[in-house]
């Protein structure tokens, strides 16, 4: 009655055929990613690798660590300190400004959220150069901000808001804020409102429910935004170059100056390699808490 029939392995397909077929398929998919990898290899890995090599070549053309030894000089130390200061302030500022906005967006009706989202997306779409330029105009001595502050009687005469630390920080905060809001918003949107209702039915006050339930669940987005903003701040060039007025020396600007003013490729390379190492180290350290590949949408 049972349809069991003794195994009579025959036919053209054997185990090695299947293994081969499976491998062939896997490779054909890898092949699809190849052109992209080649582009990134040739235009990113090769140039950066070249700089890596250059960074170990001394003035006499031999292998040396002199480029790195020079990074201990006060001028560079000041740069590193400034860079981390600005990156820290910008990251903190973007958390303080970004969290309430993302929270509001996540609580609004889809329609209202879509409308408010324009305020985040439009700056995000607008060229960094244009936005930096706008801040230059707004913050200048006779600019809008200064004239308001004077007319409101907060200050007696215009204060320098641009070509300095303040201007750089404000400009970078504006450019990077959407990078905080967007991941925060997308992680907050997945938080089920019923959790909060459940918390309040358990007797939690709205404030308590927020800190006990909502905030912990929004942490993945907060990590994503924080990492993104901090890393982008570390290597930021455009805004400090235009709003710093040469008085704010950030890491990336030191690299540029070494190349364009002193033609010192060794020093520039060493600075660049160190910046990359620091960036990757921060990413790797935080990758344990937050997975960078989640940028792809939570795989």
């Amino acid at each position: 009655m049972t349809g069991m029939i003794a195994a009579a392995s025959s036919g053209t397909a054997d185990a090695s055929y299947f293994a081969r077929a499976e491998r062939r398929e896997a490779w054909s998919f890898a092949l699809l990613a190849l052109p992209g990898l080649v582009v990134i290899g040739l235009l990113l890995i090769v140039p950066v690798g070249w700089l890596f090599v250059l960074s170990f070549i001394g003035k006499d053309g031999g292998v040396s660590l002199e480029n790195y030894a020079r990074l201990a000089q006060p001028v560079y130390v000041i740069t590193f300190v400034t860079t981390f200061q600005i990156a820290g302030i910008v990251t903190l500022g973007s958390i303080l400004l970004g969290y309430p906005v993302a929270y509001l967006l996540s609580q609004l009706s889809p329609r209202a959220a879509a409308i408010c989202m324009i305020f985040v997306i439009l700056p995000f779409w607008t060229s960094v150069l244009v936005r930096t330029y706008a801040w230059l105009v707004l913050l200048q001595r006779r600019g809008l901000i200064n004239s308001w502050l004077v007319s409101l009687g907060i200050i007696n005469e215009p204060i320098p808001l641009v070509n300095n630390f303040i201007g750089t920080t404000i400009g970078m905060l504006h450019v990077l804020l959407p990078f905080m809001i967007l991941p925060l918003y997308s992680s907050m949107k997945t938080i089920d409102g019923d959790y909060l209702k459940a918390a309040s039915s358990c007797g939690a006050s709205p404030m308590r429910a927020f800190w006990d339930v909502f905030f912990p669940l929004s942490r993945p987005g907060l990590f994503a935004g924080t990492v993104l903003v901090f890393i982008l701040s570390l290597g930021f060039y455009l805004t400090p170059a235009l709003l710093g007025g040469g008085r704010v020396s950030m890491w990336s600007m030191q690299i540029a100056t070494n190349v364009s003013t002193y033609s010192n490729w060794g020093a520039a390379s060493a600075l660049g390699v160190l910046l990359l190492v620091v960036t990757i180290a921060i990413l790797a350290a935080l990758n344990k808490v937050f997975r960078v590949d989640k940028l792809y949408g939570g795989r």
Binding site: M1, G3, I5, A7, A8, S10, G11, A13, F18
Partner: protein, 361 residues
């Protein structure tokens, strides 16, 4: 189209996990076979191997004597109906069903005729121009079916195809599918975890667990003569009582010698790990032990009675504490048989309904 399918020594390993273990299965031409098993049993993997989306580790599948596994999916001539229908959202009903025909470069007029024919068969002719997102679940199901049969595949595969429908519609579709199969006689492999669905629709059922084929038989045989405890448990409500094997070869339960059907005899009894499988609807109650010679009678104590509309479920307990369910038809004649909680009763089962199963899966 009627083709025989024979699966020989089919195995699939995902790393160290054995999803399929040496499956051997012979499907007759035009047969409706159901792969029945719990989720994760390997039934869907087997279906995916048949369809060509999973490459097996070893084995062979012969369709009409010809190796299937060396063909890519698009040359297998297999109609596949997915659990979630997988209708193309950017095409309407006509375009969905015409898709396989367009790929085969049939002339426009022929496509038109065939699509209409397939839609007639699933009784959806008036929906030919509908966008698929404007269809109900049952209608989507039918369109998916029409799309899978319109190119006259050699084999029809259905993966849990009815599980997304509500109970009433599902039962109606089961009958319809059955009728459609009687008309077309395409060799069909149907995958489900729903035992009732399997019993309703199939010519034969292949019960699969942990990647292995446990039993391959007609629905009646699977239900009435399950070979293992797993099969008995999976295809119906069952109470298992431990069987003690006597030195003389006789079997007993709770010290009462068992009267067994002739065919069961030695088969299961020879196993050291044997169980008596009892179905609630095959049991009867009596105040005293049944005097009949063809009946096994066990004493128990009634615990509670549950009214379920079309039946009355009496839960009773054996002296060792194990409980058993007895299903009574709530008709007037049975009224006197419904015991009060705590009342001693006897549970009777005809020897032909006394199934011995082995304890292994």
């Amino acid at each position: 189209m009627k083709v025989p399918v024979s699966i020989r020594g089919l195995s699939k390993k995902f790393g160290s996990f054995e999803a399929l273990k040496d499956i051997n299965l012979d499907i007759a031409p035009g047969e409706f076979v159901t792969l029945l098993g719990p989720s994760g049993s390997g039934k869907t993997t087997l279906l995916q191997v048949l369809a060509g989306f999973v490459t097996p580790t070893s084995g062979s599948i012969l369709v009409a004597g010809e190796e299937l596994l060396t063909r890519p999916p698009h040359q297998r001539e297999i109609g596949l109906v997915f659990q979630n229908y997988a209708l193309f959202p950017h095409m309407n009903v006509f375009e969905n069903i015409a898709y396989p025909l367009k790929l085969r470069r049939l002339p426009r007029s022929e496509i038109e005729t065939r699509v209409r024919g397939a839609l007639d068969m699933v009784r959806l002719s008036q929906f030919i121009d509908r966008p698929v997102d404007k269809l109900s679940g049952g209608q989507k199901q039918r369109v998916a079916l029409a799309r899978a049969i319109v190119f006259e595949p050699r084999i029809l595969l259905m993966d849990e195809s009815l599980s997304a429908l509500d109970k009433k519609l599902r039962e109606q579709m089961q009958i319809e599918l059955r009728h459609l199969h009687e008309r077309l006689h395409t060799t069909t492999v149907f995958v489900t975890h729903d035992q009732r669905e399997a019993l309703t629709m199939s010519d034969r059922i292949a019960v699969i667990n942990n990647g292995a084929l446990i039993q391959f038989d007609t629905p009646r045989a699977i239900y009435d003569r399950p070979r293992t405890r797993f099969v008995a448990d999976f295809v119906g409500e069952t109470t298992f009582l431990p069987v003690e094997l006597g030195t003389s070869g006789g079997a007993s339960v709770f010290g009462t010698p068992l009267r067994l059907p002739d065919h069961a005899g030695a088969v299961a009894a020879a196993q050291s790990d044997s169980w008596l499988a009892l179905r609630p609807e095959k049991l009867a109650l009596s105040p005293a032990a049944s005097p009949e010679t063809n009946v096994n009678s066990f004493s128990a104590v009634a615990r509670e009675t549950i009214f379920q509309g079309d039946s009355l479920l009496v839960i009773a307990g054996f002296p060792d504490g194990q409980s058993i369910a007895v299903r009574l038809v709530p008709q007037e004649a049975n009224r006197g048989l419904v015991p009060l909680p705590g009342q001693p009763i006897h549970i009777n089962v005809h020897r032909n309904d006394s199934i011995l199963v082995s304890g292994d899966v």
